[in-house]
Amino acid sequence: MKAFEYASPTTKEQAVSLLGNQWGETEILAGGTDLLSLMKEYLSTPKRVVNVKEIKEFQGIRYSPGAGLRLGALVTLEELMDHAAVKKEYPALAQAAEGVRSQQIRNSGTVGGDLCQRPRCWYFRNGFGYFPKGEGGEDLVINGENQYHAILGNSGPAYFVNPSSLAPALIALNAKIRLFGAQGWREVEAEQFFVTPKSEGEREYVLKPREILGEILVPPAKGIKSATYEVRQKEALDWPLAAASVALKINGTGVKEARLVLGHVAPVPWRCQEAETVLAGKSGEESIAEAAQVALKGAKPLSKNGYKVQLARVALKRAILQAAQGGA
């Protein structure tokens, strides 16, 4: 690990003033479950690490039936998973946190950190960047080990998948993410938070170098049934091969409105709007299978990840069934 300066501000204003103008100059430390591994591997070599854990404003869960849910960015995955209102009103979110199958990571990993963690692409983690290239300019992902890479939104040059466990659930639940910077707060739809980088200097989200993800607002979930289903090979800590979070407004026996989001299939969490229309206004299992087909219609698997198309369909189908049968 490269030596660095450590700062531990107690207010959000101080914290912002300690951040650099360029990505990589400084890094924000919360749970540290990703940042510390990146630093140990020299994938991140900041001059200064800004610990935000002492900023009280970024802590805590608040819920009221009228206002909905407010999650401080420092809420741990374990707190989220164990929160009674989250479990009851937003099961998609609690189930997504539960999918992180390491007690240690859930205890220290935070909601903000889950959203801002860097790609888990093994080329990226081995130091080859977003767009790994061979000496002759060959695309290493396209020609190499792409079994866990993107099947959607993969026209290049990025082929990694967004690793966030919570993002699909937050997007399905129509959450807003609040970012704090020198000009104060700004708010983005969870869906708009993630972007596909086009150059190595960019990041995978709209957060700017001198901004901090401070809190997340989730609207009331009255009348909404939600669920998350992850296809994971292992029960122990393992990245999902595909995941889906869904939020359904159910009217009698039919789905009135649906928000369907896939995880681990594209460089960003993947909203399936056409499939949402297929599902809305229908009932019965046939419409679920049809929605799953439609959701993956545009999939363009790489040389070794064709199986993920099937897994994504299954994740979506099972998440819909799980939401319809249980949910809030």
């Binding site: 591994s37 888990r120 983690r125 081995n126 090979q233 122990a236 091969l241 070794k304 897994l311």
Partner: protein, 309 residues
Amino acid sequence: MGFHTWGGRGHDSECRLTINPDGSVVVALGSQDLGTGTRTILAMVAGETFVLPVDAIKINIGQAPDYPPSGASGGSTTVGGVSSATRRAAQDALDQLFAKVAPALGAEAAQLEAVGGKVQVKGNPTKSLTWKQATAKLGVTAVNTTGKNPGAGKLIDSGVGGVQMADVTVDIETGIVKMNKFVAVQDCGLVINEKTAESQVFGAMIMGVCYSLMEERIMDEYLGRPLNSNMEFYKLAGIGDIGEFVVHMWKDPEQDGRGVIGLGEPPVISPAAAIGNAVANAIGARVPRVPFTPDRVLAALEKKGGLTS
């Protein structure tokens, strides 16, 4: 179901054993304990020969050339080598001790026996010495013996066999294989310590589940380097992934009579066969390569004619 056989004949081994006049017993061998329990079984073999508790035996291993040579630990050959060499050295040392002590008990050496921390005339507790009184008769000269693995015969043998049965669930929509129950039956001749023997089999079964379902080194062909050389990407089973394990060590007088045979590797041979056969039974198609990952299981299903047929 899967079967395996293995040799496991003890390697060449020499044990130097000392009984000191103060009653202490030292076993020295240029062997090593890989975590498989070598120290434990050496203390048990010497302790049983002298009828002393295991903590009365000091075990010195690992310092060649100070200690006499034993083979490398490979091929499941250690236990047979070191246990027979130690048994031989301990038996010879006991005979020498009896010879020194016999006059004091007014008996012939051949009439003596070691019984629970004592040396006595066979069947006659009234004519006995404590272990310390007995070893004090050595005066200033310790008993030093060297024992060698005598080769296949009464103390050791080779050839073990095992049967393993796997019960799995295959999710035919995702290709994910889950272990429900895994049963292993194993023979290995005379079992010196049942707990460490069972542990060898449990360990092999865990490794077997890992390599059957998950473990794989992913090399990038262009870079020529591994991509998953860390605990995040290299998949190993957790407790929730291994299911229920049952181990039956096959123990009976016939097995005991064969002597000691190595056990480290044999039970790790057949897990993939057992699990692979169970998967094939479940889905009606062979998955031709380990590990049986979702992509390979789905490919086997598709080759067979799809999910529905």
